[in-house]
């Protein structure tokens, strides 16, 4: 391909790290079924246990509490299903509280549960999209079984007060789950520090392969299978092990752990260079979320361009080889723009005109310069086409 590509959609998914791809490939002969007793099977099992250890170390967990799944969507569904089962079994604690900005894997699942008659509450967020702890406190009660709050938001990049939320949940006797998919590899995530009972993650968001992820479930918490049919993962998650994918996840976890501090600073520097460059070159822009390093995932910049519609901006950028995402309704196939941005109180028009740039390991400052060269004329052009005041 001679087309220049500047990939700035790393919150969507990441390119596999070269080290991860090489490691997976180097283990091509590890094809045995890890549940088999023979040598090839035991070798595969050894590789899988190594990967389990790497993931455990990355999130400061005990190795025995790591369960491999197909990804965070499955992990989130599994957790919600556990508490659905408990409600079905007559547990008095039958209400689930999640934040209003959770990933669709959580929010759509609870909407489905709500339709089925289960008791669900959505906890609102403030103007940077951060969970309102006072509202969570108000919503709590001794009928709450589970509180689920993501560690960092995929659209706005806003880091959530998960430690505080976990403390509130526990004070009322509820369990706490965090979807850490976006945060892993960008900020330190420790299940012990957060006080999480459950945690979800996906390998493909931090340079691992797609289709593999983890559910962390602290020893002793309620746990029941979502995928039935086999004895893998202590009977909690059936399905033949995907050896190479799990090894890739292990390698990605190792890279993430070793490179975390450096990666954070590099991503934040690019994010800030792009933000400042845009603010200098383009009039009338609105940054969504926070510009405080402590409150924002380092690689995420979500920005609205009033009078310019997001899908048009995205596609004009794509013609220049710059790949981003938008909160515009037109890009989602629905008539409603990003619920995450609306939940933070953003004006509907601004949500339609929002663009998310998300940096990753393979971006450089040259990419920032390229965007700063191409973006301003595109915004000017889209705005000139827009139904301006006459």
């Amino acid at each position: 391909m001679d087309r220049k590509t500047v990939y700035l959609d790393n919150n969507g998914t990441t390119r596999m790290a070269d080290e991860v791809a090489a490691f997976m490939h180097a283990n091509d002969d590890l094809y045995g079924n890890a549940s088999s007793m023979h040598t090839l099977g035991r070798q595969a099992a050894a590789g899988i246990e190594w990967a389990r250890g790497e993931v455990a170390e990355l999130i400061d967990a005990d190795k025995g509490d790591i369960y491999f799944t197909s990804g965070a969507s499955e992990s989130n569904n599994t957790v919600l299903n556990i508490f659905r089962d408990r409600a079905d079994d007559g547990d008095k604690r039958s209400r689930i509280i999640i934040s209003s900005v959770e990933h669709p894997a959580t929010i759509e699942t609870v909407k489905y549960l709500k339709k089925k008659g289960y008791s669900i509450d959505l906890c609102p967020v403030d103007e940077i999209g951060r969970l309102r702890l006072d509202e969570l406190e108000r919503l709590m009660g001794d009928d709450v079984s589970l509180v689920s709050v993501m560690t960092g938001n995929n659209e706005s990049g806003t880091i959530q007060p998960v430690k505080e939320a976990a403390e509130i949940a526990h004070r009322y006797g509820a369990y706490f789950h965090t979807d850490a998919t976006q945060a892993i590899g960008k900020i330190p995530v420790s299940v012990k520090d957060i006080g999480a009972d459950y945690l979800s993650l996906s390998a493909h968001k931090f340079y691992g392969p797609k289709g593999i992820g983890v559910l962390y479930a602290k020893h002793g918490v309620p746990l029941s299978p979502f995928v039935h049919g086999g004895h893998q993962e202590k009977g909690v998650r059936a399905g033949t092990y995907s050896n190479q994918a799990i090894l890739g996840l292990g390698k990605a976890a190792e890279l993430a752990r070793l490179g975390l501090a450096e990666e954070h600073d590099r991503l934040w520097a690019m994010r800030e260079a792009l933000r400042k460059g845009i603010e200098e070159r383009i009039p009338d822009v609105v940054v969504n979320g926070s510009n405080d390093e402590a409150l924002c995932l380092p690689g995420t910049l979500n920005i609205s361009f009033p009078s310019a519609e997001g899908e048009s901006i995205l596609l004009y950028l794509d013609l220049e080889g710059i790949e981003v995402s938008t909160g515009s309704a037109c890009a989602t196939g629905s008539l409603e723009p990003s619920y995450v941005l609306l939940a933070a109180g953003l004006d509907v028009e601004l949500a339609h005109g929002s663009i998310r740039f998300s940096f990753g390991r393979y971006n450089t400052m040259d990419d920032v310069d390229y965007v700063l060269e191409k973006l301003p004329p595109i915004i000017e052009r889209v705005r000139a086409m827009s139904t301006r005041k006459v």
């Binding site: 310019a308 048009s312 596609l315 037109c330 890009a331 139904t387 301006r388």
Partner: protein, 203 residues
Amino acid sequence: MAESFMAQWVYTDTVKDHFINPRNLWKEGEDFKADGVGEVGSLACGDQMRVGIKVKDGRISDLRWLTYGCASAIASTSMMSEMAIGMTLEEAYHLTPSMITDALGGLPEHKFHCSVLGDKALRAAIDDYLEKNNLPNPYKGTTAKIICECKGVTDQMIEELVKNGKVSTFDELQKETGCCTACGKCRDRILEELNECLHIYGK
């Protein structure tokens, strides 16, 4: 390396062409004195369109447009502008979204609603021209499609009621028109039309 996979563009090549090179755009500072102007949609809905027309000898002699909208909306309006110029007012009034999307080589189903604003704005511009010049409007009401056959409720009736703020829910629409009170078969299509109008004219 395995054989490479070529990505198609999101929409047809014709859509892409009109998106990259939109025709008859109303440029800022351009001296275009429109005989009639129509505007539909709202920024809050994510798409808004303004169409200005010049009329000579009963035909649209020139047209300019602006849109706040996605690639499909831009391409649809651009295509509409090419089709409408040279048409008689009557022909232009009966230009339909499917004529525009056909000319574009098709749009994905969920993008079809992006193409309905162009022809609506064009009709609004023709209405405006006729009204400004105190001319009779023989076209209004001639493009209606019956949706509720039992009660004879048309898409245009629904559009007018929503546009004038008289109706914003299914219950109100039913009360106002009696639609969907007999056989009930039209319910989905009524809802679809209502939602489309609510989207275009604001909630």
